[in-house]
Symmetry: C2
């Protein structure tokens, strides 16, 4: 049997692969092949497939049979096309080795450039380029990268030798070193490497090649890559491809350049070609953000004094323009491209779907529909619902006077305040203590990922809009101000100076990633609104989705916000918060302390008018939309004070002896309050409490009905585990409803349903369904009981589980479909088996999480309900679910 095809050639108008083989060739490799197919100039090379990576790890880090031969064969093909040979002294082929996974993992994976250089081939490079300095600079870069990436030698060791050399020569920049200096450095590097590894630096290009391939496959499993995958939910078994490609040089003089560009503005979404480049530089120089790059065209110059590519190399620019237009039209999406110009010849090194802010994503999606490039459904699917979150976060109140102490690049939009920290570790540590922090770095690197993730926002002193900090922050949806050169950061002293301000670790600052501004202190913020492109897209999404979206809201204010965000009703109005408000807590406590039913009823009579006015407020805001009200849920001891001092204070206030109070507090104490005397268990044992609440709901509804409102209250009984619990509480509630209706003479419809939040409720939903008008899954509690996991106590071990990769996701964030989900589905199926039209929704916090919303759609829920700010996310997620179902 012949071996499987593991290696895919591309170059000179001929490619084995294409964009359709993304899973096999990775994003980079498949797009290189696709560009070749589109007759776009790409340096020839080949891609080793992701299957090799998977088989490599499955097979104890051994390559599959036949790989070696396929690599050598394809290398020969490249040699032929280029008219060069690997290791040739006169016309040496030099190559790069780069990783390329199915999805982009910026900076996560290792790369080696200039591979193939040795003490012989360097001569060919010198004679060909007639540039000894360039050749030795390439050589010393190659040795440095190879030492780091392949040989695993601490970067700082060679960097130190470089610094010593600069000091010796009295210069500050690498570019000030001469060819001789660089030659000497290569010699010194190699000596040091031999000292450390006890082996000579490999001269054999083939040995170098395999060293590089090994390193890329090995980098799939390094800590940074693991962290990135965990944060971005990328399966470990996807693997990476390896791209081996002919080197081209942007640093061969002033007719050479290198740059990155986006086919549209990634920050705003504006339809303009947008990019940066550096003359006489290697690609890494742009991405690393060490030199400040030049704008790619005149339109993008703004205040920049630097000349654009359009001005300095108009021919190449024109060719680039044609290529970008071709690519965008071909891919029907905004592209992020990399190019190099070698001595006047343009080469494309990469194209991929460009990362963008959520705002620009919305604009691009809506624009492309208008341009006829994509359909509305495609536009909807282009927007990751989770990313809407960024637009739904508070922004700095525009009415507040801003004392901007410095400006940087608006690298990732949104605003954030927090305490300054200077290392990623500190950021993580303080965030673990619930502190909000801003991570401040000279520049960020992949090692900082965990700190960036923990921080509220990121601020850097160096780097452009395409720097590591900017790209990663946008991906994470964190606000980021990048390249603020005015910051003088001293890591050792943990302090930074900014235009005369001294900011120490722990000082509060605010950053605005939309404007690139930095302010002292903690500025007030305002709530976002839905408008512009987002409103357009939401309208399209609403037209597509089947599921309704409601909000969890306990106050008229929350109800108003929810309605503004498009909520179609309230799915969960908790009543216990109302019990704490103002003076009513006194009446609540009087009720709890009462010795008998009569005493409780007396106290409840005081609460009744207050509860009623709460409901009137909420019903008015939600005019003509359904409102589901959950009757009292928490255990009564939550309403009593617990410390000695608080008990004493209450005792004096209400004139009940501290002894009696203490005795009551002790008698109500529970070992496991989560599993205790709460929910409908209160309704069964103290029916007068629920009676009062139902009376308040119905009186409110009837009163508004007189004013012309159309109200259908949905009364929800919590924590039902036995059908009889619902029977008993439902009977009482119906009695009260009928009494109020009779008294007021209003004809009001009402529903009485239940939360499904205990495993037993889901398991016996065919019984409970017979007495419920609706079900609402309380997936917070259902997750707690199904896992046997108290959310309040899980902090001692759940982080360890996530760290060990034992759980893919925190089950309180995304619904655990393979465990809790089985119960939810069972609940729906069993409930509808006895009542086919049973209305079923979800009101746990999962109702605003995209993967959970999709699950809810798939099992046929009628609605999801979530916090008001997540309503747009749920609306879009519900549309996604519907569209995915159809495909």
């Amino acid at each position: 049997m012949p071996n499987k095809k593991y290696v895919y050639y591309f170059g000179a108008g001929d490619a084995d692969g294409g964009a359709h083989l993304k899973n096999l060739l990775g994003g980079k490799g498949s797009n290189l092949a696709e560009m070749v197919n589109l007759k776009i100039p790409v340096p020839p090379g080949f891609t080793i497939s992701t299957e090799v990576c998977t088989e490599y790890y499955e097979n104890n880090q051994n390559y599959p049979d036949g790989l070696h031969e396929q690599v050598i064969m394809n290398l020969k093909k490249v040699e032929e096309v280029m008219g060069r040979r690997f290791g040739d002294v006169e016309k040496p082929l030099l190559i790069s080795i780069r990783s390329g996974a199915r999805v982009s993992m910026p900076g996560m994976m290792d790369t080696v450039l200039n591979l193939g250089l040795n003490d012989s081939t360097i001569k060919g490079l010198i004679s060909e380029t007639n540039n000894e300095r360039l050749a030795y600079d390439s050589y010393r870069r190659f040795v440095q990268m190879y030492a780091d990436v392949v040989l695993g030698i601490d970067k700082d060791i060679l960097e130190h030798i470089l610094e010593d050399k600069k000091e010796e020569k009295g210069v500050t920049l690498d570019t000030e070193l001469t060819a001789d200096d660089l030659h000497d450095l290569v010699t010194k590097f190699k000596a040091k490497i031999k000292e450390i590894t006890n082996k000579d630096f490999p001269e054999d290009p083939i040995e170098q090649l395999w060293g590089g391939i090994d390193a890329v496959f090995g980098s799939w499993d390094n800590k940074r890559a693991q962290t990135y995958r965990r944060l971005n939910k990328i399966p470990d078994d996807w693997g990476t491809a390896v791209n081996v490609q002919t080197m081209v040089y942007g640093n061969m003089g002033d007719d050479s350049a290198t740059g990155v560009a986006f086919t549209r503005d990634p920050a705003t979404g504006e339809n303009r070609f947008f990019g940066e480049f550096l003359v006489n530089a290697q690609g890494e120089d742009v991405v690393a953000g060490i030199r400040t790059p030049q704008p790619i065209n005149i339109a993008g110059k703004n205040d920049s004094k630097l000349p654009s590519l359009e001005e300095v190399m108009p021919v190449c620019y024109k060719e680039l323009e044609e290529i970008y237009l071709k690519l965008e039209k071909h891919y029907k999406d905004m592209q992020d491209i990399e190019f190099t110009i070698q001595q006047g010849k343009l080469w494309m090194l990469q194209t991929r779907t460009g990362k963008r802010t959520i705002n620009s994503a919305l604009k691009i999606a809506v624009d492309m529909v208008k341009e006829g490039l994509i359909t509305k459904d495609e536009a909807i699917l282009r927007i990751d619902p989770a990313r809407l979150d960024q637009l739904l976060h508070p922004m700095i109140d525009p009415k507040v006077k801003r004392d901007v102490i410095a400006k940087g690049l608006p690298a990732s939009p949104g605003a954030a305040s927090g305490k300054v920290v200077f290392t990623a570790d500190e950021a993580e540590e303080m965030a673990g203590k619930e502190e909000k922090v801003i991570l401040v770095r000279i520049e960020t690197s992949p090692e900082d990922i965990h700190g960036m993730n923990a921080a509220q926002g990121i601020l850097t002193a160096r780097g452009g809009m395409t720097s590591h900090a900017a790209v990663v922050a946008r991906g994470m949806g964190k606000c980021c101000v990048a390249g603020c050169g005015e910051l003088k950061i001293d890591y050792d002293k943990e302090v930074m100076e900014v235009n005369g301000n001294t900011i120490r670790k722990g000082d509060l600052i605010t950053i605005d990633g939309s404007l690139g501004e930095i302010m002292l202190g903690d500025l007030p913020t305002i709530e976002p609104e839905i408008g512009g492109d987002m409103a357009v897209l939401m309208e399209w999404a609403d037209a597509v989705r089947r599921m309704k979206v409601r909000a969890n809201a306990d106050t008229p204010h929350d109800a108003k916000v929810a309605r503004e965000f498009g909520a179609q009703g309230i799915g969960l109005c908790r009543t216990e918060h109302m019990f704490f408000d103002g003076d009513r807590i006194d009446a609540v406590r009087e009720m709890i302390l009462a010795d008998d039913t009569e005493g409780r009823k007396k106290a409840l009579a005081k609460i009744l008018p207050m509860q009623k006015s709460d409901f009137i407020g909420i019903f008015k805001e939600m005019k003509d939309l359904p409102v589901t009200i959950r009757l009292l849920d928490p255990p009564l001891h939550e309403f009593l004070p617990h410390s000695e001092e608080d008990i004493k204070a209450l005792s004096e206030k209400i004139g009940v002896s501290a002894e009696k109070l203490t005795a009551k507090v002790i008698s109500l104490k529970e070992f496991n309050p989560m599993l205790g005397h709460r929910g409908c268990r209160l309704g069964v044992t103290f029916p007068e409490i629920y009676d009062m609440q139902v009376q308040a709901i119905m009186e409110a509804a009837c009163e508004l009905s007189k004013e012309g409102y159309s109200i259908i209250p949905e009364i929800m009984i919590p924590l039902v585990g036995l059908v009889n619990e619902l029977k008993v509480t439902r009977e009482s509630a119906e009695r009260v409803c009928k009494e109020v209706i009779k008294k007021t003479g209003e004809k009001i419809e009402y529903l009485i349903g239940t939360m499904i939040e205990l495993p037993r409720a889901a398991l016996t939903a065919d019984k409970i369904g017979t007495v419920a008008d609706f079900f609402s899954f309380g997936t917070n509690d259902l997750t707690q009981t199904t896992y046997g996991l108290s959310r309040d106590d899980a902090g001692t071990f759940l982080p360890k589980y996530i760290e060990l990769g034992m759980m893919k996701e925190d089950p309180f964030v995304a619904l655990d479909q393979e465990g809790v989900g089985i119960l939810v589905e069972m609940g729906v199926t069993k409930g509808r088996s006895v009542k086919p039209n049973l209305k079923v929704g979800i009101c746990g916090e999962h109702g605003g999480e995209p993967s959970s919303v999709e699950f809810c759609h798939n099992i046929g829920l009628d609605y999801v309900s979530c916090s008001p700010f997540r309503v747009p996310i749920a609306r879009l997620s519900a549309a996604h679910a519907k569209l995915k179902e159809e495909t």
Copy 2:
């Protein structure tokens, strides 16, 4: 369509029904028909079926169409057979109306006798019996009963008139009243009834008949009947039948008598005819226990000076003897019969399967197999496994000197100590406070049921072996001493005098229901053993059952007891109790207080040899049987002191500052410890703890293996909810096992499995099953999480649920098959779907409860494990399950 048949005739050798119609006709009615079919003399009558009762309650207490006509038609048939007419002045037909449910509910339901008497028919009764006194005594009894049962008039009102009459006449006994006195009483009763009800006492016999029928059907729903059904798990919808039957009189002079008898001795099971009777009395006199009855035969006389039936009415006795033999042979079980002799003519009023002590049940079952009456399988099914519990309770240590202060009848076996209480309410109240009580009553009545249920034992001053107290106590498995005439009880003063001893409420006494003895104080008891008939029956059961029975045992002593009771291994050996023993708690605390892994390992090294010696002890006791050891389960804070004083004491003892100790205690505190950092979550976060335990287990096993024992330790990981929890802990455990095996050079097999005690574990058992060698359902925790119910906290509402009938049974006692059971079954099915031979057991407390054991058998578990004392119950239950499956 003709109406359904609702009424079934019986009498004079002709019956519509028979014993096979028990569900329809009730126990009493079907057996009356069956006796008629067997040509046994039964007073004619008819039975109104239980369907009428069900339809009556379903149809808002209205009778089904056609009932009226069927009753009248059957009444006519009785009139014809008896040659009498209902309401006739010369030869009046008099009838009794009695309830009769599918199962016997002694004293629970209402009865009316002498129905048909009025101011006209009384004349016929007088002339026919020529006994005016008898006639008026019957009349006044009828009016009293009718007033109580049908008209709902407080018994005491008429009783008071009776007492006044006796005082007026200067007599103490009812029997001393003359015919005139009784006639006068009837008049006075009727006047009082009119005064209360504002209506004349019904003279029309047909009106009386329907009043009686209404009352019996109505009594199905009275409080006593409801309580009895709840305690005895009788469904409400079974309903009762109504038996209308010709009256016969045991009080027509000295040639008349009435009695009850058992075909074998109900206390010992001895094969002898055993009964009691009264000359010239009504049946109610015997059952009520007011007059001390006479023995039925010479063999039963013992010390009694009273003449037996065999002596005073030898002909009737001989006929009775033939009948009882015929009945026992026919029913193939011990019968409880009632008879009346009216002027020398024997009538059978009832036969039913006799209640018996568990000891006698065992003896009867084993004897009947030997006698060839029944098969071994039938014998096994005759024994209710739950009742074995009585034999498995402690008895008074025979070595203890007993100071018997009085003797009564050994009415229900077993021994009990407790504080004396004189009312059922007090018994219930004190039992609610975890106090053990002995309920002492002059005699008990159905109103005392709840107190009898709450008490440890029952002591009465009056009544025989068939008195209410005796019958009910035996049914409940409570020890009972009845008819101790030496007790002088003063309810008002709450004191009793017994042969010179004054015993007040709250004083401790001990009663021995097997010997009928009463002692002062709290006597020491000993453990029971399996022997005699029980051992024989157990052997038969073991030969039948498929499931194995193991025990939950944590110590060598428990293991020994378990083995003696027939356990086939240990299904759950908890290791946490070992952590508390003696000095080791200090090392455990040192481990918890350690700041790092090294500190913990140091402390664990001290615990290791102690744990090892625990396991050696248990393995030795269970030689060659499997032992499942659960690794540490409870949260660590359980091992630390919590009060300020205790913390201070520990601080001084171990030299760690109280501040540090307090800080640790606070840091470990959990809101819901049940759902917290425990079980395998400890194993994941502190792997060194489980490593130590596994090392101790394996070292113990290897050491014993060297001595020739064959040990297969089963290591059980608790609280797994995610397959990865088991993977991680299993990997560690396997590593340690291999290390120990390598070190000792012993070849030991071991299993590593898990508890299934969280809903998620059951839901994902197809994943968990791939890495588990066995499953053991921890149904205690599974019940808590499935219900969302903390066993420790449920006391505030669960009793209310049981009271309201919302739950059939406490789910911590009998496995909730329709909720928790779904998860258990799902766990088994999913686990075996990936590992068909997966060993599956249960180790929750349900493993010793008969209905739960049957469930476990039906879903295919390999074994149940329960507390040592319940092992015989589980063995028998497992045999029942197998036999029921086959039928």
